[in-house]
Symmetry: C2
Subunit: 200 residues, 2 copies
């Protein structure tokens, strides 16, 4: 199924593409998106031999490809597909880790519509196979970043399915989740939280 992605927002090209990234006003005042900060963080972790975590490429449905003589193949028609999994995964201290990262402009709660149903299902499967699954949520207005274990996200999702509220109150994320220290190198120190939760 071809979809607008993500959630009807315009696609922001990755660093290194031919066009400059579109200025996105939903981002925090540092001028980097959560995705960019996590990519930098993962590069830092990789370069310093701390963890091996990568963002998965954006899934596309390719329809038409041109093969010009003596130059690179050009994709001329393709569509964004809904991802079957979360965006990030990798290995840390021998364990499989898997997460999704989301940013909200909302000041008091995190809307669950930020997730696709199959991302929730994927997190359940990861937990079922003994992996570590979580989400990283940034409240852009306050520039606060939290790690919330997938168990909690799944519980809120199921409550929503049962007709309860469609968002997670920020207050509960503060209580049940874990504030991630942010800085410059690395920007989003999520491994520190994992150490406390799973490796101590």
């Amino acid at each position: 199924m071809a979809i607008r992605y993500p959630n009807g927002r315009k696609y922001i090209p990755e660093a290194g593409t031919h066009k400059p990234p579109v200025k996105n006003h939903t981002y925090s005042n540092r001028g980097m998106s959560l995705e960019e900060e996590l990519n930098e963080t993962n590069q830092y972790y990789l370069a310093n031999n701390m963890a091996c975590v990568h963002k998965k490429p954006t899934p596309l449905q390719i329809v038409k490809v041109d093969y010009p003589q003596r130059s690179a193949a050009v994709i001329r028609e393709a569509y964004f597909k809904q991802p079957a999994t979360t965006d990030y995964n990798g290995v840390y201290k021998g364990k499989y880790i898997d997460f999704e990262a989301k940013e909200t402009q909302n000041k008091t709660s995190f809307p669950l519509q930020n997730f696709h149903p199959h991302q929730i299902h994927h997190m359940e499967q990861v937990l079922g196979h003994g992996g570590i699954a979580f989400v990283i949520i940034r409240f852009a207005q306050q520039d606060e970043v939290y790690l919330l274990e997938a168990e909690h996200v799944i519980a809120y999702w199921n409550k929503q399915m049962a007709g309860e509220r469609k968002s997670i109150p920020k207050r509960e994320i503060e209580e049940k989740g874990h504030r991630i220290e942010t800085g410059y190198h690395p920007r989003i120190r999520y491994l520190d939280i994992l150490d406390t939760l799973y490796f101590s």
Copy 2:
């Protein structure tokens, strides 16, 4: 860097795309590519709650996107990028597993040029962080599939870098690797090999 991919061969659309897959004569007589068989295998493992392993999407450099009114965004210019990692990863019995799958028409050896240098480097990093890394190699002419642990692949790669031979003799893959039983459900039973090697 925009590249022809993979290795100058034409792109084969995934199942479910608008155009029928191009008939590729490099495939075995079953009519399925190694990738398709592994996707089916991983779906089987997922559905039967045995492992959670996915193929990563093909990485693309998106240059131009159209946003027609009231319909899905259309990518009008994009290029294949070299993957930074291997194609498959996931979680099995709590452990991180990571692999690349390759097929050769060669009857007596597997050419190392089938790998990108950063895929080899990625496998080294996975091993360094305590993950399980390997390659799945199909000799299409004989329709034989082998699992070869990344340690061996890296050793052959380093020998090649030192000026030695540019391929792994099939005989040595038979000795050092592990023949994977193939069937219909699942098609490529690689978890059986992992059980013997890492979980017994």
